[in-house]
């Protein structure tokens, strides 16, 4: 990455981190209802991956989706508003953390069901190159759109995801499987659930595989560029095994449970490899002074503060609109069900 790209990556990662720290505060203050899963520690993965995508590309996200959505460029104000269940939220308060989406940016949604979004990415990848698909039919094997499916190491044991690996490989779809291998599915270590590593498994499906240091945004970016180019040029789907770590609990409330599945030493070891500190150090190597970094941090802080202010000012949806958006083509009888209220 050149200095400009690295600065942009730093800003994105800082934005995700501060967004998530603010989410924790807002959850604890009961300003955000429901359950949220923080992305803290994994910022390099979404940032590096999204930096390699073009404007028409599509991604599917997970229950731990805030990083993907902000990394792809969604507005943090509308994202906070969504988490706070307001009408100006990305989904007008109908989705929340686990379903947040911005289809205009190709974000086909976070997903509350582990592994379930990956086949959407496969379908969208196919649609971009299929004859008769929306948009220009392709004349050569270069395709307009590449899809990225994000998922965790735990998802790798879900049938629908494994089916999608196979289908994507068999049909040579232009897509990237981005595995955020943070070592745990809630409390269960990856090794307790699978005999082989995610990369070994992906290799068996016929996917092109790379293992990536998911704590290093430049390494992720470099692998992501290779993967997206591989897919876009018609050489088939790619699997990136991004080794990373979440610094906090599985979700915001986990610390209340006092679970002991990770040692203090292990957490501290990974925190010592904080991907944002690493980028800051590299930027110093590119000639930035501490004051420059402090200024970047201030800008991010102001951006997040303004986003929270925007979200707080937004109204709650009217109860009478609870059934809005259910159907794209409402019929007389779907709309006038007797006595639903």
């Amino acid at each position: 990455m050149d200095t400009t790209e690295l600065i942009r990556a730093y800003q994105t990662m800082r934005t995700i981190r501060l967004f998530e720290e603010t989410v924790v505060t807002l959850v604890n203050a009961n300003e955000i209802p429901g359950v949220t899963h923080e992305y803290i520690g994994q910022e390099a993965v979404a940032t590096g991956m999204c930096a390699a995508l073009g404007p028409d590309d599509v991604l599917t996200s997970t229950h731990r989706g805030h990083g993907h959505i902000i990394g792809r460029g969604a507005d943090p104000g509308r994202m906070f508003a969504e988490l706070m269940a307001r009408v100006d939220g990305l989904n007008h308060g109908r989705g929340g953390s686990m379903h947040a989406a911005d289809v205009s940016l190709g974000i086909y949604g976070a997903n509350g069901i582990v592994g379930a979004g990956a086949p959407f990415a496969a379908g969208a990848a196919w649609a971009s190159g299929a004859p008769g698909a929306a948009g220009e039919p392709t004349t050569d094997r270069r395709v307009r759109r590449v899809s990225v499916a994000f998922f965790g190491d735990g998802a790798i044991n879900q049938g629908v995801l494994l089916e999608t690996f196979n289908l994507a490989a068999a049909w040579e779809l232009p897509m990237v499987f981005c595995c955020e291998n943070n070592g745990y599915a809630v409390t269960t270590p990856a090794a307790a659930s699978a005999k082989v590593t995610p990369s070994e498994r992906a290799t068996g499906f016929g996917l092109a595989v790379r293992e990536v240091d998911g704590m290093d945004v430049e390494a992720v970016y470099e692998a992501a560029q290779w993967a997206v180019d591989h897919a876009r040029s018609g050489r088939g789907p790619v699997f990136l095994d991004c080794r990373c770590y979440r610094f906090v609990g599985h979700n915001t409330g986990e610390h209340m449970l006092g679970l002991q599945y990770r040692t203090h030493d292990e957490i501290e070891l990974w925190r010592g490899r904080d991907p944002i500190t690493a980028v800051a150090d590299r930027l110093r190597g590119h000639g930035l002074a501490d004051a420059d970094l402090a200024r970047l941090d201030d800008e991010v802080q102001q951006h997040i503060d303004a986003a929270v202010t925007f979200a707080r000012a937004s109204a709650s949806p009217e109860p009478a609109t609870a059934m809005d958006y259910m159907y794209a083509t409402p019929t007389l009888t779907t709309a006038t069900r007797w006595g639903h209220r």
Binding site: V58, G93, R94, V103, P119, E163, T164, T331
Partner: protein, 320 residues
């Protein structure tokens, strides 16, 4: 207007929509060679738009969702209707909910076809269900065409609809012959009154419409039966039912799915809530026994709604 078998009308609807709209595509197991007879000739006519899928119902159902969000209008064929259970999350928890969950940011115009739904003597426990109730319960637009004309026109409406639509094509309807006018449009929603009558309203869906009509003819000199073909398990046309029951004061509901929490239970309960003062007799249901389909044909006949049970229900309701 031509006379066509139901199965042919279904295939013609798909063929005509594929020809009319280049974003329509067809996915399923063994569809290139048209094992189920719905996609004959499609792969040759539209190379690239007809895909034989791996035996991965969850993945290809989700694949259709993503393709639909990206602008396609996929049709998904399930080789066996009970494969719905394998794909259930991808239909009811994903495709059906995405529009609401995204606050209307996207549409999911997918058509799920379940050809040969229901019991067919001897297919036993895992191949005999007729699971439209499950999707209606989840708010999925769920059609069960009874006639060749509806197989043609409702399937075309389903493909053109911007929401997920499931179409169950009863095994007992596939060989039926009837007039089909390809110029006729049948919208999703309205029920059809197949026989007018004044004494008892029978509401049926799928092949039971024909059973109801046969029984109504048999009973013609005793009871004047009105037969309503619901056409859709959801949305259900309450207005047509209300108009009919307001006149007859008597209602029998026919439903070839399990009795407990079945589609007929919903129709009967709502009629009891809303039409109580018009009813002159208790609402009756004729439904399947709550049992996995036993293999022996004699046992199968014993647990699905048949003319004998329908006749008894109509006569009891007429007398009550």
């Amino acid at each position: 207007m031509t006379v066509m078998r139901y199965q042919k009308a279904l295939a013609t609807a798909v063929r005509d929509e594929m020809a009319a709209d280049p974003s329509v595509c067809y996915l399923g197991e063994d569809v290139v060679h048209s094992l189920r007879g719905v996609s004959s000739g499609l792969a040759a006519a539209h190379p690239g738009r007809v895909k034989d899928t791996p035996i991965s119902e969850a993945a290809f159902t989700g694949f259709a969702t993503g393709a639909a969000m990206a602008g396609m209008r996929p049709i998904v064929e399930y080789q066996i209707p009970t494969l719905l259970y394998v794909a259930f999350d991808q239909i009811v928890n994903q495709a059906q909910k995405i529009r609401l969950m995204t606050g209307g940011q996207t549409r999911v115009p997918v058509t799920y076809l379940f050809p040969g739904s229901g019991a067919r003597l001897g297919l036993a426990g895992q191949h005999s269900d007729h699971p439209y109730t499950l999707l209606a319960h989840m708010g999925v637009k769920t059609l069960v065409p009874a006639t060749p004309q509806d197989a043609y026109s409702l399937v075309r409406s389903a493909i053109r609809d911007d929401d997920p639509v499931a179409v169950f094509l009863p095994a007992n309807c596939l060989p039926r012959k009837g007039d089909v006018d390809v110029a006729v449009t049948v919208p999703i929603g309205p029920a059809a009154i197949r026989r007018e009558g004044t004494d008892v309203t029978v509401v049926a869906i799928g092949h039971l419409v024909h059973e109801a009509l046969a029984v109504a003819d048999d009973l013609a000199d005793q009871v004047d039966v009105e037969v309503i073909d619901a056409r859709a398990a959801h949305p259900f046309d309450w207005h047509t039912l209300t108009r009919s029951v307001t006149r007859t004061g008597r209602l029998v509901v026919l439903d070839d799915t399990n009795r407990t929490c079945g589609w007929a239970a919903e129709v009967a309960a709502t009629a009891a809530e809303e039409l109580f003062h018009h009813l002159r007799a208790p609402v009756r249901r004729v439904a399947r026994a709550d049992v996995p389909m036993p293999f022996a044909p004699v046992l199968e006949r014993a647990v699905v709604p048949d003319r004998e049970a329908i006749t008894a229900a109509i006569l009891e309701t007429a007398k009550a």
